[in-house]
Symmetry: C2
Subunit: 271 residues, 2 copies
């Protein structure tokens, strides 16, 4: 049995395109509908209450496209609003926290794991909770890195300032002698090189997007909803705004040009 | 005649508190109602279309508080949506672009003026247009500084990374031998010291918020709507979200504690 319905992916903005990239490398025949809430990005500093309201809007946009599965690419939403998405959706929902935590536990030898993310993700302690559930012996240490998102969007991957900022953010974690670091925000894989450099290549970096693509592949099989077609997959991109420099930034995150980008409005507000 | 109705001030988020600070220093007896759209901040990278929709929402929130005058503290809104606010409001409206441009023209000797701001503000060329209208002989040079907003919010005013970033942003402007620099974003006054340092104290820095407070004072008199009471003024703060670290960041921008912060919802959406 083959299911050609698209996988739905949503994020607060452009960052989730790193997850789309991982998905389409792992699952090249799956159609994907992406929604980025670029009119209200970023979610990272915002309160859980507002993030939950926005997550519901985002879910409804994807459901309108008859998706067979929803990937919550946004770490902040996965951390504080996965239940909102699961309650609303009539299809399987995969967040990025559990897959990221699982990959980290599998790869860490010292069982000392670091987590970086937005203020919202770190405050929620969602990764810490997931890690402890997977292995009670794991010790975890976390640090929010709010400047990493604008640095990745500005494209300053090799700038001396980025290196200084990365050092400042990561120093407290390396002091805890971690051997594995979860990149708990979709923007951070863009900064992999500088993160490796300032930590002297001593850390295994866990890209939650890649880990999530693995979990999605397994789920498609277990649910019997894989697309068995060998046709080229169709990728569609929807956003709530087409902000300045969107195509340029999107290309950096997706690893290729996006093609047509369609702007959509939310069907209802929460008042 | 005395008019005790409050002055309404709105901004995309917390940055407009630097304008409130300037207003309440200049006009200590005026009541002020502030609204920050913290649920959708920042506006700077977003498209003019979305900024105009949001500006209308923000205006309506202030009008519900019976304000006698509206100050558009947000440079991005002042640059691309002042007409939207003016059309909606039944009261005088003051943006920050005209006052900032006027102050720069008055103070520049060489008539070579630099402008920094968000991508939206710089792309609009609103400051350039205003400068040329005030003095056709002025030459202006501009540069967007998207990392300044998150650096100011992170509180890294004295960090070496901030200095490097400021150097990179400001170098092309100093090459043009400007003598005056317009700080075209409410966040930038927080970074005045580092901006002065990396430009070797050679530039006159124009804080549009301070310039706007001057214009507001004149307008209150010319319209006969000054509050003649000598009672302590009442400052009220409304936001669309109470994000992480809001009180801490707000205090840095306002120069004192904010007290009670009330969350409000928008009355309608734009669908």
């Amino acid at each position: 049995m083959s299911d050609a319905r698209p996988i739905g992916v949503f994020d607060s903005g452009v960052g989730g395109l790193t997850v789309v990239r991982a998905l389409s490398e792992k699952l090249p025949h799956e159609n994907i509908v992406y929604f980025g809430d670029t009119a209200r990005v970023p979610y990272g500093p915002k309160s859980p209450q507002v993030v939950r309201e926005y997550a519901l809007d985002d879910t409804n946009i994807l459901l309108n496209h008859d998706v067979k599965l929803i990937v919550v690419a946004c770490n902040t939403v996965s951390a504080v609003a996965l239940d909102v998405v699961q309650k609303q959706a009539r299809v399987p929902v995969v967040g990025v926290i559990e897959p990221g935590a699982l990959a980290a536990v599998k790869r860490s030898k010292s069982k000392r794991i670091g987590i970086i993310g937005t203020v919202g993700t770190i405050k929620s302690n969602a990764y810490g909770t997931a890690l402890k559930r997977l292995d009670a012996d794991v010790e975890h240490f976390s640090h929010p890195c709010p400047l990493f998102v604008p640095l990745a969007e500005e494209g300053w991957m090799d700038h001396r300032a980025t290196e200084l900022i990365a050092k400042e953010y990561l120093f407290p974690l390396t002091q805890h002698k971690i051997d594995t670091l979860i990149l708990g925000c979709t923007h951070y894989p863009i900064l992999k090189d500088v993160i490796s450099r300032v930590t002297h290549q001593t850390l295994q970096l866990i890209d939650s997007g890649e880990a999530t693509a693995e979990v999605v592949a397994q789920l498609l099989d277990s649910e019997g909803i894989r697309n068995l077609s060998t046709m080229n997959a169709r990728l569609q991109f929807f956003v709530s705004d087409v902000p300045h420099k969107f195509a340029e930034i999107g290309e950096r995150f997706l690893g290729r040009t996006l093609g047509r980008i369609q702007r959509v409005s939310f069907a209802s507000s929460h008042d």
